[in-house]
């Protein structure tokens, strides 16, 4: 598990192992060419830096079938190598996180195997991306949840391995809840089929009859590739009342296509945070909305006027900033309904709740932005725009708790963010850009604080880890779940959360007896004596976190008094 220096380059793969990989998938589908491997090692997104490289894989293989994935995994077991699967590669979570990793690139497994209209599910391979799945399912009047990394990302990867929420959660919930039957290559190379698939009854249920191991498979956040390779899965589909082939003109802000019948986009504003939380929860509980989203005004600025935020005049624009902040308690609702009556009902409920909580709402057709908002959300085509203003972003908090606790916790996040803006470490987006969206029928809200920075600027990359640590500290103080992917932090906080790490590791030992999966982000043990980053801000925060963890720790028999 040790790192191999700043460039994170492992020793080359042995010839015998390489030959085995060539035999398994064909020589043209394996490479160990350093420059090609570095295409998998450059992972600036979700990389807390300061280096934007992760470990360079020792080889990349391109299997075309479940059998070939099995063969590759077994070769890794035979030669004592680690492996990690990658789909579209959105973020450092997809890259190797330790040395001696064979990266299994799943691009050749990209089919949509079945769309079951009657039972409303789609069966996909790993590299069928969201945009493709949407295009095919919308033709049949159906839609699928797409994680908020957008149309380029893999619905299978999100559903099986990594978090998975988005503004469409108000209607289509989140990735974990949409997972049905799964085909899973375990870290020892064996295949297991879950749910109805495991009992030969098709894909329609993930919980049986047949083995139900969904909790083991991904837990809440996902194992980030640490539990093996998922080669096929079925995902729930939902009603799509719009046209079968929506093809707008334009790419993003130039989008032009009439709203479908009975579809709308609304923006609503509230006088304060509490009203926002109360009203939006009430609206969502009523089952209103197809996409729903609390944007930050800062986020909108980064998208629409990115240059402004870099200007000296913006820093001094005190009253402009205040004016913009006044509109921060806002909420976007995208409505897509089957009938005039349904649309009328949804609008009436919204109007009633907004009014009851002192807000006002505006049909976005009056702003000229309805089409753009509607289609870029419905087609999930907008998310990479977060790279525009500064080159890179990371989001802090990124947690899911009750809607009110998340909305009301936002000010603390904004304070942290403002502190680092004042220090010049990140882009000044007015620090009001906390975003929320809901899932689980509004019982859960997701909150992220986007932090925009230029990953090519060392002064800015140096700030990211300390910022993340401050947010982690805040999470701990708010008793929020940690979502921690570092072994050191997991060890620290495992005892505060029922020793989950112990159970997680126990399962890992059973399904991965030779320790071949790259499970650094999931259940790897910290290396004894591994030095902490030599940064006073990080060291200070680590000590604070350790203190909190100690106070909150349980014994193995239960919580401390």
């Amino acid at each position: 598990m040790k790192q191999t220096g700043p460039s994170l380059i492992s020793p080359p793969i042995g010839d015998e192992a390489y030959k085995d990989l060539e035999e398994a998938v064909g020589p043209e589908f394996v490479t160990r060419e350093p420059a090609v491997l570095d295409g998998y090692a450059w992972q600036p997104l979700w990389n807390e830096g300061p280096e934007m490289w992760v470990h360079r894989p020792i080889a990349v293989v391109l299997p075309a079938s479940t059998e070939e994935v099995q063969a590759v995994v077994k070769i890794c077991n035979k030669h004592g190598l680690k492996f990690k699967a990658i789909c579209t590669g959105w973020g450092a979570l997809a890259g190797p996180r330790c040395e001696n990793v064979v990266q299994i690139e799943l691009r050749r497994m990209d089919r949509i195997l079945e769309i079951d209209e009657k039972n409303m599910f789609v069966v996909v391979e790993p590299h069928a991306i969201g945009g493709q799945v949407m295009a095919e399912t919308m033709r049949k009047g159906l839609h699928t949840h797409i994680v908020s990394s957008g149309a380029a990302s893999s619905p299978l990867a999100s559903a099986t391995s990594c978090v998975g929420c988005a503004p469409d959660g108000t209607y289509m919930n989140w990735s974990s809840r949409n997972l049905l039957g799964v085909e899973w290559v375990l870290p020892d190379g064996e295949v297991i089929r879950l749910g109805t698939l495991g009992s030969g009854d098709g894909w329609f249920c993930g919980d049986g009859p047949g083995p139900s191991l969904r909790g083991v498979l991904r837990g809440r956040l996902g194992a980030f590739g640490g539990n093996g390779v998922f080669t096929k899965c079925a995902l729930k589909l939902y009603n799509w009342p719009g046209p079968p082939e929506p093809v707008p003109e334009g790419f993003l802000y130039d989008t032009e296509l009439e709203l479908p019948p009975h579809c709308k986009a609304y923006i609503m504003f509230f006088p304060d945070r509490k009203s926002l939380a109360d009203a939006t929860q009430a609206i969502t509980v009523e089952g209103i909305g197809y996409n729903a989203f609390k944007p930050g005004m800062g986020s909108l600025l980064t998208m629409i006027v990115p240059h402004l935020l870099h200007k000296e005049s913006w820093k001094k624009a005190k009253y402009l900033k205040k004016a913009i902040q006044a509109f921060n308690y806002q909420f976007l609702e995208v409505l897509a309904t089957d009938s005039a009556e349904e649309l009328e009902f949804q609008e009436a409920v919204m109007r009633d709740e907004v009014s009851k909580h002192g807000g006002f709402m505006m049909d976005m057709e009056h702003t000229g932005m309805a089409e753009m908002i509607f289609w870029t959300f419905v087609l999930s085509s907008n998310y990479p725009i977060f790279f525009k203003a500064a080159g890179m972003f990371i989001t802090a908090y990124g947690q899911d708790e009750s809607h009110h606790s998340m909305v009301m916790a936002s000010p603390d996040g904004e304070k942290i963010k403002q502190k680092w803006i004042d220090r010049g470490g990140i882009l000044d987006d007015n620090a009001d850009s906390g975003i929320h969206f809901m899932m689980e029928e509004s019982t859960v809200s997701h909150y992220e604080e986007p932090i925009e920075f230029d990953h090519r600027n060392p002064d800015q990359t140096r700030t990211i880890k300390p910022i993340e640590m401050e947010f982690t500290h805040m999470q701990a103080e708010h008793c929020m779940e940690s979502g921690i992917t570092s072994p050191v932090m997991r060890k620290m906080f495992g005892p505060t959360e029922g020793f989950y790490t112990k159970w997680q590791k126990g399962i890992g030992n059973i399904i991965d007896p030779r320790g071949c999966a790259d499970d650094y982000l999931y259940n790897a043990e910290p290396v004894e004596g591994e030095p902490l980053p030599d940064d006073p801000a990080i060291l200070e925060m680590t000590e604070k976190l350790a203190d909190i963890a100690t106070k909150m720790a349980w014994t193995e028999d239960g919580p401390l008094e």
Binding site: P44, W90, R111, A135, P384, G391
Partner: protein, 434 residues
């Protein structure tokens, strides 16, 4: 500029994968969602626009070296620009196409040459064309046409034929008919006959900048000497290179450059050409990369942080020629246009560009057949285009597989509608003898 000058662009890659797909608003099916022939064929990330940038970054950072395998990957790319267009939906600070060009130059500078490209360069040096044909025969296609020789006569319009049209006899009827149309509309047209040379753009794309400079200078001096006011070319490659690569090399031509389809449309609108005959046909239009996104005029380098670059200084493919051929098709009675999924800025490449036609025929055929399948999926009876290299890529791919699907140059359809019968090879040979 060198590869290192684009280090910030390369480091800018967030690995979001947008470069591999048509812009997401335009994604209509699973089947035709991909935009890049190279990664679609070879699958490793290094074959995508982003992956190529990361190979470049790895080398610039000293983490890896330019090996034969890396050079081979760099060359297996049509430089079609689809990745650049897709990337720029979201980014202002990355010029992906520029990085790809710099990678080619780096290969040449470090001696990573491939024999097929060397043959092209040798041909350019010896004969002034990329096809290895005799320079003396460059103007043979025009024998018998009442067209001026700009080497000794003044003409308002220089007709730059381009290498492929000049030597590909199957394209000569199209070419001769087009010149007849221009002359019949009253244009004062001259050509350089055997003195015409390649525009040099293909050399530039292959990484041989010195050669490209020579041809640009040659063209520049010829244009200056001619006193012409306008250059018209039927070669989409040449058109793109005059508009983009020449100014990039500091050799901007001092006259207006038009693709012949633009001129024809202008003449039709002015009533100087009458498209009167029915051409009953359901066609689909293939946007050539070099007529479309790659023909967008050059914009000077942005000084400073590209994050602050204004949109009018961002070359994102929107200012290519897309509407002209579609409008022209609408003027032809009987022609109905049905669009493919991948069109305009997000069009799929025919496969011939960037030296791939010469060096990697299998990749070229793969790309062309993919496009033909997409054309067929529309229900069209034929595909129309307006680039000789696209035409040849489709023609040869179909011949290789024994398949058939009609592919027309839009100029053929125009000539049919005007009522101009294509010359037979005997008639053309007769003209040559005269």
């Amino acid at each position: 500029m060198t590869l290192s000058d684009y280090e910030r662009d390369m480091e800018g890659c967030s690995r979001c994968a947008s470069c591999k797909w048509v812009p997401f608003n335009q994604m209509r099916s699973w089947r035709f969602a991909k935009n890049c022939p190279s990664i679609t064929r070879y699958d490793f990330h290094a074959y995508s626009g982003g992956g190529r940038m990361l190979m470049g970054l790895s080398m610039v950072k000293g983490r890896s070296e330019l090996t034969d395998e890396v050079a081979d990957i760099i060359y297996r790319c049509q430089l079609c620009g689809a990745c650049d267009t897709a990337c720029k939906v979201y980014r202002d600070d990355i010029d992906l196409s520029e990085v790809l060009l710099e990678l080619r130059t780096t290969c040449v500078e470090q001696g990573k040459l491939i024999p097929e490209h060397m043959m092209v360069i040798d041909s350019l040096k010896r004969e002034g064309n990329v096809l290895g044909e005799p320079k003396a025969e460059r103007g043979a296609w025009a024998h018998g046409l009442p067209v001026k020789n700009i080497n000794n006569e003044k003409a308002d319009v220089i007709f730059h034929t381009g290498c492929r049209y000049s030597y590909d006899r199957e394209l000569w009827p199209t070419l001769r008919g087009t010149v007849k149309l221009l002359l019949s509309a009253g244009l004062d047209v001259g050509i350089a006959f055997s003195e015409e040379s390649c525009c040099g753009g293909r050399a530039y794309e292959m990484g041989f900048r010195g050669e490209a400079q020579n041809y640009a200078e040659d063209m520049l001096s010829r244009v200056k000497a001619s006193g012409a006011k306008l250059i018209v070319t039927p070669c989409a490659d040449g058109y793109a290179h005059f508009r983009y690569i020449y100014p990039r090399m500091g050799k901007a031509l001092p006259v207006e450059v038009m693709h012949v389809s633009e001129v024809i449309l202008h003449l039709v609108k002015e009533g100087k050409l009458s498209l009167k005959n029915e051409v009953p046909m359901l066609v689909t239009w293939h946007d050539p990369c070099h007529l479309g996104r790659m023909s967008e005029p050059y914009l000077p380098e942005w000084n400073g942080d590209k994050i602050m670059r204004t949109l009018d200084r961002k070359r994102a493919g929107h200012n290519g020629v897309y509407d002209v051929p579609r409008e022209l098709l609408k003027f032809i009675p009987g022609v109905d246009l049905v669009e493919m999924e991948r069109i305009r800025e997000w069009s799929w490449c025919c496969g011939a560009g960037g030296g791939v036609y010469e060096a990697y025929p299998e990749l070229c055929t793969f790309s062309a057949l993919e496009r033909i399948e997409e054309a067929r999926s529309t229900g069209a009876e034929a595909m129309a285009t307006s680039c000789p290299w696209c035409h040849v890529a489709f023609r040869e791919a179909l011949a290789e597989t024994g398949d058939s699907f009609p592919v027309y140059d839009i100029l053929d359809l125009v000539q049919q509608s005007v009522g101009l019968s294509p010359e037979t090879s005997e008639e053309i040979q007769g003209g040559e003898r005269k």
